[in-house]
């Protein structure tokens, strides 16, 4: 133990002797980031004082350095291309503000481009008026946290993603705020990552978008008012917990769109005021537990080829339609959920309704065939129609029931 | 005073008033008689503006009446059936009508006259038919209008109240008012009426004093005189 602490002490002394700090300010000798990077060697710290630095194409190649901004110094790329490109191990970028990244049809210009890197941290930076925000490719073991991005994207083709990850693994994306880009967080071929407590709001397309990305966890994020909600495709072993999906409105908008997802868990999420809270297409072996579906147009829409999706102990509250269903029953199950529209009774007082609940309404079939009929939603006639269908189902699958509907909201 | 010219009214296909002319210039009591369906009530209601005539003209004190409403200030009316909003108390009803008219009223005097004090706090739907009729009379007579229209004023009254009513009508007559009465109690009519207007099939069939009627029909008895009027026309309905 003693030997070890001595070694540690020695190591610190050695490294502090070696590492130097480079100051950058507009009136300093070193007055640009590129200049500082060129001077730096492994282990150096570059400290940028506040001010505006008109720079783009800054490159950090194979240097393990720390860039720290003080009072958010502004790197203004003047719409000229990527601001900072990194290809290195053990580096960090902290506390700077990057603005004005130009759009392009051929290049994915980003505020920070991280390529083939390892062990990095991109923390507490600010981004404004960007094309891509943080673009990470072929990298691993990084932390991206506390960043705030704000842009005003209008056209999909002319906008990029907030945090874009491609062919990477072991990343932690935490506590970021991404507003007004194309996709808030984008993952493609990215595995073993944790996406946690981020806020994605007012983005043009998806709040979160991932494809071919397995073994990832999405925890406690908020996705609000994004053009098409959240899309999750072609992935397996996904865990989504405690996320909030809110106000994703529009005819092609979802709280959460699941397509070809398997072996995943959705637990403790809240879906509120979405046109379609969850749309599932080709999904297998998915557990939905303890989610709250509140005031959505459709809470759950199951389309074809879904097998073994199990909904247990969820709350379905005041949705226009609880479940819309296409196709066969396919071992999909609803069990022990609370349905606010359930009108059955509980004579034995065990908290479970004595009559099964049929979550699919005849009206949802009608609307599917004649979409204009939606205008008759909640009319008395439709109520009568749905009631008679519930009493003796003809059009809706008879087996599609919750045999144990709960009498009380699940806490 | 009242000048009615060429008054026509049809209910559906049934002709009720068929070119009726009537002038009333004098004060005193005028009885409007006639068999059922002869147009008595329709005539009265036309004067009151409750029925809108198809054709014709009604002037009251030189003023056109049809489709107006202010002239009713000068008319006191006793409706045939004394039914009132049941939830109101007697006093409230009286106050309300006073409020609507906005005119001086001698309601206290009349309440005493008909001995209605014990009923003032009762709801109207709790009253007997006779008491209701008394309330009806109070409402009618409490304003000092120059024209009074009484539709079957005797109905439901006990003999003592009937005497009271007769006195009241006499008093009003002495004040120089014009009083229009319909009634099927013939001796009541005979006793009070100064002039008889007899309607038949929507027209005036006889117009004159009681004695003129008796002379014309050569009958000593008033009721027989009336019956005679009808039999000459071969009218089957004797209920007048």
């Amino acid at each position: 133990m003693r030997k070890f602490s001595f070694l540690l002490f020695f190591f610190f002394c050695f490294s502090s002797l070696q590492a130097k700090e480079i100051q950058v300010c507009t009136s300093c000798e070193v007055n640009s980031l590129q200049q500082a990077v060129d001077m730096a060697v492994d282990g150096d710290v570059i400290r940028i004082k506040s001010g505006i630095y008109k720079e783009h194409g800054v490159e950090i190649l194979n240097k393990s350095i720390k860039i720290i901004g003080e009072g958010y110094p502004v790197i203004d790329a003047e719409m000229q291309g990527t601001a900072i490109t990194v290809k290195a191990e053990n580096f960090s970028i902290e506390g700077i503000k990057i603005i004005n990244i130009g759009t392009s049809h051929t290049n994915d210009f980003a505020a920070i481009l991280v390529s083939r890197s390892k062990n990095f941290r991109i923390v507490n930076n600010r981004f404004e008026n960007i094309f891509f925000g943080i673009l990470i490719e072929r990298s691993s073991a990084g932390t991206i946290s506390g960043n705030k991005m704000k842009s005003k994207s209008r056209i999909q083709a002319k906008s990029g993603n907030g945090i874009h990850m491609w062919h990477s693994e072991d990343l932690t994306v935490k506590n970021n705020e991404i507003i007004g880009v194309r996709d808030g967080i984008y993952l493609e071929f990215v595995n073993n990552c944790v996406i946690k407590e981020n806020l994605c709001k007012d983005n043009l397309r998806y709040g979160l978008h991932f494809m071919f990305s397995d073994h990832n966890e999405y925890l406690g994020n908020t996705f609000e008012n994004n053009g098409a909600g959240v899309a999750v495709m072609y992935s397996k072993f996904i865990e989504m917990r405690r996320n909030l999906f809110r106000k994703n409105w529009g005819s092609a908008s979802y709280g959460l769109l699941l397509k070809e997802i398997s072996d995943s868990e959705l637990i403790n999420n809240t879906f509120e005021d979405n046109t379609i809270a969850i749309s599932a297409d080709n999904t297998n072996r998915i557990n939905y537990r303890h989610n709250d579906f509140i005031s959505n147009g459709y809470a759950v829409r199951i389309r074809g080829a879904c097998y073994k999706n199990v909904f247990t102990e969820n709350n379905f509250l005041a949705n226009s339609f609880d479940v819309a269903y296409t196709g066969n029953i396919n071992e999909n199950e609803f069990l022990k959920n609370y349905w606010s529209e359930y009108t059955g009774y509980d004579l034995d007082k065990d908290g479970t309704g004595d009559v099964p609940y049929r979550p699919v309404k005849l009206f949802s079939y009608l609307v599917n065939r004649t979409p204009e009929a939606i205008i008759l939603l909640r009319s008395i006639f439709i109520g009568l129609l749905d009631f008679s269908e519930k009493v003796s189902p003809i059009f809706t699958p008879a087996e599609l029931i919750d045999p144990q509907p709960q009498m009380r909201k699940i806490k | 005073m009242i000048r009615i010219k060429d008054l026509h009214k049809k209910f559906g296909s049934q002709v009720v008033l068929n070119g009726l002319d009537l002038d009333i210039e004098e004060q005193g009591i005028i009885a409007v008689l006639g068999p059922n369906g002869s147009g008595k009530t329709t005539l009265i209601k036309s004067i009151l503006g409750m029925v809108v005539p198809d054709k014709g003209q009604i002037d009251l004190y030189e003023e056109i009446v049809i489709k107006r409403w202010k002239y009713r200030q000068n008319i006191d009316y006793l409706p045939q059936i004394a039914n009132f909003p049941g939830n109101l108390k007697v006093m409230e009803l009286i106050t309300m009508i006073k409020d609507l008219r906005g005119k001086e009223a001698r309601d206290q005097e009349l309440i005493e006259f008909f001995k209605l004090q014990p009923y003032l706090d009762k709801k109207l739907n709790k009253l007997s038919g006779g008491t209701k009729q008394k309330v009806n009379l109070v409402l009618c007579f409490m304003f000092d209008s120059p024209l009074i229209i009484l539709d079957e004023p005797t109905s439901g009254l006990d003999p003592i109240s009937l005497l009271h009513l007769r006195d009241l009508i006499q008093q009003e007559k002495e004040k120089g008012k014009t009083i229009l009465i319909t009634s099927h109690i013939m001796n009541f009519v005979e006793e009070v009426a100064d002039r008889i207007v007899f309607l038949l099939e929507g027209k005036i069939y006889f117009d004159g004093t009681v004695s003129q009627l008796k002379t014309n029909t050569r009958q000593q008895d008033f009721e027989r005189a009336i019956a005679n009027l009808l039999s000459e026309e071969y009218v089957q309905d004797f209920k007048i």
């Binding site: 005041a318 205008i375 006639f381 | 309300m96 609507l100």
Partner: protein, 260 residues
Amino acid sequence: MYKILKYSFFDLTRSSWSYVYFFFYLLLGITLLFLNNDLSTAVITLMNVIIMIVPLIGTIFGVMYYYNSREFTELLLAQPVKRSSIFLGQYFGVAISLSLSLILGLGIPFVAYGLFKSAVIWDFVMLLITGLFLTLIFSALAFNIALSHENKIKGFGYAILLWLFLAVIYDGLFLLSLVYFQDYPLDKFSLIATMFNPIDLSRILILLKLDISALLSYTGAVFKEFFGTPLGAVTSMGMLILWVVFPLLRMRQVIRKKDF
């Protein structure tokens, strides 16, 4: 007119029916809020009640009041009061007392529950507004029916039929025609068909608050324009106002010529 309104109103505040109606709403509000404990579902149940019960009560009450106050009316007709004042006064007497029962009956439990702190307040306000409109409309329709039918039984019959038609049958025919003509573009037709039924109009107004997310799932541009912008709310509100005005105008026409 105000004097008549005042007396009709006081007459009605003494009728036990107003209280029955008031307590019905009070009980409903309390049950929904304090036993169910969930605001959003309470508002949906309330909506169902409002588009069904309010028109029914308005119709029955209107017809009943008209027939029951016939003697009162005759008494008034002989007084120096304008005809239209009598009927409009009575109409507003009924409509206002019904509206008050509705607003107080539902309002008290909601206020007691602490509605003002919740976001549901606007949904609730919209419920009350449509409830008010439906009361005004259906008592006006009821007065129209009663004015045109001296026979009480017939009047009641037609009133109930009218309610049944607008509340249920109309939507049934509407749905049938939608299904039958589904190959044609129907969005304009369906919006126009909605305009001709005050119950549907009210429903749409509430849906705009409660179910906007579902309404927007339909892709048609006309719907999007209607539901996605204030246009829908403004048009529906305007149509509801017309639905009050037209029966009242007809009432005036009928009154002018009617014999009593």
